[in-house]
């Protein structure tokens, strides 16, 4: 189980933004989806997830809205803003450059 702190710094932001690219989601669903897509490799802890969400919201990259969840409870849904989409493109780009650089070294 890799801890979020084990993630490369700033990667959590990328994961959240990427996850929200599809559709607005609440916090629990974001965590679940990251776990699912990464085949349980990445488990985001609440202690990291919510501060990250709040920070991203403060940056105006995502915005929050209260809505009904599938079990009829009020839940806070996050969605990407325009600025968030641009930020996602930037972070994806820099992640790709970083990871290809790292793999190049690791495989050399």
């Amino acid at each position: 189980m890799s801890k979020p702190s084990g993630l490369v710094q700033g990667t959590l932001d990328l994961l959240i933004l990427k996850t929200l690219e599809l559709q607005p989601m609440h916090g629990w669903a974001i965590a679940e989806r990251i776990k699912q897509v990464s085949r349980e490799v990445l488990q985001v802890q609440q202690g990291s997830l919510y501060p990250a969400l709040h920070r991203l919201e403060q940056q105006a990259w995502i915005q929050a809205e209260w809505g009904e969840s599938d079990n009829n409870r009020r839940a806070k849904y996050y969605s990407l803003t325009k600025a968030g989409r641009r930020q996602l493109a930037r972070e994806t780009d820099s992640w790709e450059r970083l990871s290809s650089a790292i793999s190049a070294i690791v495989r050399a």
């Binding site: 609440h26 916090g27 629990w28 965590a31 802890q45 609440q46 202690g47 919510y50 501060p51 990250a52 709040h54 920070r55 919201e57 403060q58 940056q59 105006a60 915005q63 209260w66 969840s69 079990n71 409870r73 009020r74 839940a75 806070k76 803003t81 325009k82 600025a83």
Partner: protein, 901 residues
Amino acid sequence: MRLLLMLRLRLRSLSQRARVERELEEELRFHFDRQVEKNRAAGMDLTEAQQAAAREFGHITQHKDECRDARKISILENLWEDSRYAVRNLRRDPFLAITATLTLAVCIGANTTVFSIANSILIRPLPYPGSDRIDWISERTGPAQQDVGAAPDYFLLRDRNRIFEEVATCDPATFTWTGIERPERLDVALASASFFPMMGVQPLLGRYLTTDEEGPKTPPVAVLSYEFWRNRFGGDRQIVGKTIAIDRLPRSIVGVMPQGFDFPRGAQLWLPNDVLDRASQSFPLSATQPIFTVSIIARRKPEVTPQQVTTEMQRLSFAIRAEYPKAFQKSGFRSDLMLGAMPLQEYLTGQLRPALLILAGTVTLVLLIACANLANLLLARASSRQRELAIRLALGSSRGRIIRQMLTESLVLAVPGGLAGFCLAWLSVRTLNAVKPAILVRYSAISMDWRVLAFTIALLAATSVLFGIIPAISAAGIQIHDALKSAGLAHSAGRAAAGMRKVLVAGELAVSLVLLIGAGLLTRSFLHLVHTELGFPSDHLLTLRINPVALSMGHDYLPFYSQVLDGVQHLPIVRAATLADDPPLSDNDFQSTGTIGVIGRPLAPQAERPRISDVVVSPEFFHTLGVSLQRGRIFDSHDFTGIPAAGRPEFLRTEAVMVNEAFVHRIFPNEDPLGQRLIFGPDEFNATWTIVGVVSDIRSTALGADPPANIYRCTCAGVPIYRRMAVLVRTSVPPEAAIRAIEQQVRAVDRDQPISDVKTMDQRRDAALAPERFQLILLGSFAVIAILLATAGVYGTMSYLVARRTREIGIRMAMGARPPDVLRMVLGETGVLVVAAIPAGLGSAWVLTRYIRSMLYGVSALDPTTLAITSVALAAMVFIASAGPAQRAVRVDPMTALREE
């Protein structure tokens, strides 16, 4: 967009803390519940599922904290926290909080009040659409701009100018409302038809004047002001079409102007100007013809530059001379006439500007003193907080952070004072509007708007930085090591702070000295004015004006006035009565003047001849007032007999006149004036005046002005009396008691003639002193506040210095110093303050008092007596303030002082 969103979120986290907290709680709870659900779906029972979720979830409060941190907005949050910290801190120091609030309330209140006045009158545009394009146009001969123009100027401007949309005239006049029980004097404006369109204001009811309502054939109509309509006609909405008798002529009311349309100020109604007639108006060919003056106002076309205005005015000035060659060439009269334009607002408020600037300067200086005082208090406080600050520094606070926190504290300290100051200003503005002191009488009511609020807030912020910055920097400069090591008294920082405090106090003293000198000069000047002799006894003297209802243009009112005078003289309570064209010290700025030449001397060109004012009085004038005859005799009706009453020439070929001593001093310093003959006005006027008597001087125009050189002409000389005259009555009873009887006499001659401007001479004298008294009271009270603040500053600083040196004093005493030595040491420190402050104060006064020179009478702006007295007074105050601390120093018990540390 993104910035806006961020700002909104930040404000929300700050302002709706409770709600944000609730939402965070709910969000986390939702997550937890979903986890429990998921665990149950995986087959756990409820407790098991909850425990597993809780394990996975971890410490919920910690998560919340982290979320809060993520939301944290450093500067705003810090500001908020610093403020709360500051409030807590200040609660522990109520003395500081109360002192700061009181001083700042007074100082910010005073500054805000002065700003409100300036804002209402000088800054805020006049309440007419596009009022910045309205100009006041007047003639000038020589350097002085006059108030008015002449009718031909108006016609030429109207027809030939290239830069104005609309040119209009509007002249204040007084008329009488007749046909009512007690005829009443009304303030009226005679307007050209273009006046209302030029002002750009639509009537509230009915219409305003139309283009054919100007000149001699105008129908008798009137437009009412809102106040007159509301107060005297009960706001009757059916008023249009009704009539009002003005000077016995029924006029039909055609319209009512809206509230706030108040030009010329105080006008109750506007009438068409029926003498504004192109055909009959020219410049007079001689000074014997009356000149028809008009006030000209015009609206500039948009985007006309000041440069274009100047050029156009010059062009038109030459055009006028070309248009009226006879008037300008033949007589040489006003050969240097020019037209000038200035913004209407500037024209209306120009007189107030210097007085307001002085006032603003004064309150700013007082505010500076208050700031120095507060800085001093904060410095004292900072030195007692050195340990706390040192600990914060040691724990990693940056020095910038400390400065920010200290500045926040001074802001918090200033806020209640600022609020109280704003309320105080609101009260003062209300009081000023109710009392209407002399300098504000001419202007509309003062009001406070968003600009005043913005000013107060800006002033509050500036003030808190001003008094907070020195203590903040000095606090941040603490050496951690020293401060923590030495118990209570950190000498290195303490010495710097003590030096700074002395500098601040010396500065305060210097500024107070400037204000004291200003107040001292005004006091001396005021005392001069109070003790100025009018030149005649002012008791038992009643003065009033009669503004007779128009009989016809050019009608001679002398028979009417003679009858009135005769009736008044025969009242038993009247000792003597006279006619004069103006009461002494009247507020009428207009003085009839003309140039004179002495027959038998070479005649200078017109423009270089002395200009003298001519005053028309009846022969009883000198006796009634008590002006003594110095030489010769007083003219009387015998001087003018043999001249047929009807068809009198306007000026006699030779006329007996009297002059005053100032005249003799100026024109005949070494000759006998009696029997000298003068020519008055232009040469072709061809009439000579013979001096038959010399009387003593009186101060007729203003208390502060030297008596002008006067020529007295007699009412019985056939001088035509066109309209307004004053009646001066010496009574044997208190003058107020004679008013009714005199009014009845006037009404007995003509029941439609009201008397107006009824004042005793003492009241006139009092009113003439009012502006000076007002200035003196203001500047004086601010000087008192300043000196009290500075004295408090001295006391505080000396106490601090003595407390700081208690140990040293103890040692000295233990070594054998006597109380006088200690006293000398403390007073030596005080002496340093005085020695630093007085030259600085005198130097500043030397620079600054020139600005009040125009307000001084009989005293120079650098009057040595005032400078000496105020300096000594300041020094005395300083020593009195240090007496307490000095006594404390003398009473230091060496044993206790040494044991304490």
